[in-house]
Symmetry: C2
Subunit: 192 residues, 2 copies
């Protein structure tokens, strides 16, 4: 964590580095879980993308479930939402959610694609509450913060679902001004 990257050190890098291997597996898992989903991605695919042996998932994370837990934990973060200005909150949120750059390592598709598996869903449920809904509810304010955070999550999830997973035209790259305006107003009305 204190080591900077450089081509010189890359050359001198030891072939065996537990931390680096663990990080590589975690990053590959985040990519795969966000795009193909928890159930549909096997540990063999993840470790192949990381360039290591499948058995290392058990060694470094204990199980595929715990790997999913670590992968989602690192991505679930309210800072991007909480840092937004309240007066133009709706627009900022829609901009954030429709930013085409942030398609990979996105916790929202990751969560929804994991909903089918019972144990992954239980993990998602716990982390979503602890790491996202509770901080967001506190940010909204002590008055009805929980309800507002839940409405936020519902609309954000629905938008992501039909934008990333079921690519619908109306939520695609050429979203109409009216559609965007409705989304902006809906998110903004959670503040006012």
């Amino acid at each position: 964590m204190s080591m900077p990257e450089s081509t010189l050190e890359t050359a001198l890098r030891p072939q065996r580095d537990a931390q680096r291997t663990r990080t590589a597996i975690l990053a590959a898992a985040q990519d795969a879980f966000s795009t193909r989903g928890y159930t549909d991605t096997g540990v063999r695919e993840i470790t192949a993308a990381a360039g290591v042996n499948p058995a290392l998932v058990s060694r470094y994370f204990g199980s595929k479930e715990r790997l999913y837990e670590a992968a989602l934990s690192e991505l679930l973060d309210t800072k991007q939402v909480i840092g937004l200005p309240r007066e133009s909150f709706g627009m900022a949120v829609v901009d954030l959610l429709t930013d085409s750059q942030r398609s990979r390592r996105n916790p929202l598709p990751m969560m929804m694609l994991a909903s089918a598996d019972p144990t992954a869903r239980a993990i998602t449920d716990r982390l979503l509450k602890e790491l996202f809904l509770e901080p967001l509810a506190h940010w909204y304010g002590q008055e009805r913060g929980e309800g507002k955070a839940t409405c936020f999550a519902a609309l954000a999830s629905g938008l992501t679902l039909y934008r990333e997973l079921y690519p619908l035209n109306a939520f695609g790259v050429q979203m109409s001004a009216e559609t965007r305006a409705w989304l902006v107003a809906a998110f903004q009305s959670l503040i006012d």
Copy 2:
């Protein structure tokens, strides 16, 4: 379809009835796919609930995927939404989506729990557009109907996701008046 049910006919009913068996499998599949999801329910569970042999899924539906297609097709229906009064549309939709009676055989959880499987998602995508979004867009009106229908689906899916699959307090049985009001206003604003 013209045969009424009676205890007398039940007694005289032949032990082998292809139509009845097919219907029993379909009903069991709708129950299971709506609650546990496409990936997590095996054909053995479905046929066990229907009281028949697993091989009959292949006989009557061709494959598990086609069974899913038949199960979802029968449930996807815009009539419940399209029949609603436009002036109180928001309230009627929220009442419909938060009706605790309609938990089983619900196409929305069924769709979301199937999103993880690639082929099931492709089927869902097609049926959603053909049987729901296009009729709903037409009902909304030729002006921006597609965008409105997509927003409707997004909010309805988000609400169902955090009400049925991840039971969150704010969307549960004791939903606050403010939360409900926000949902009602959001749905209603798609009409006005």
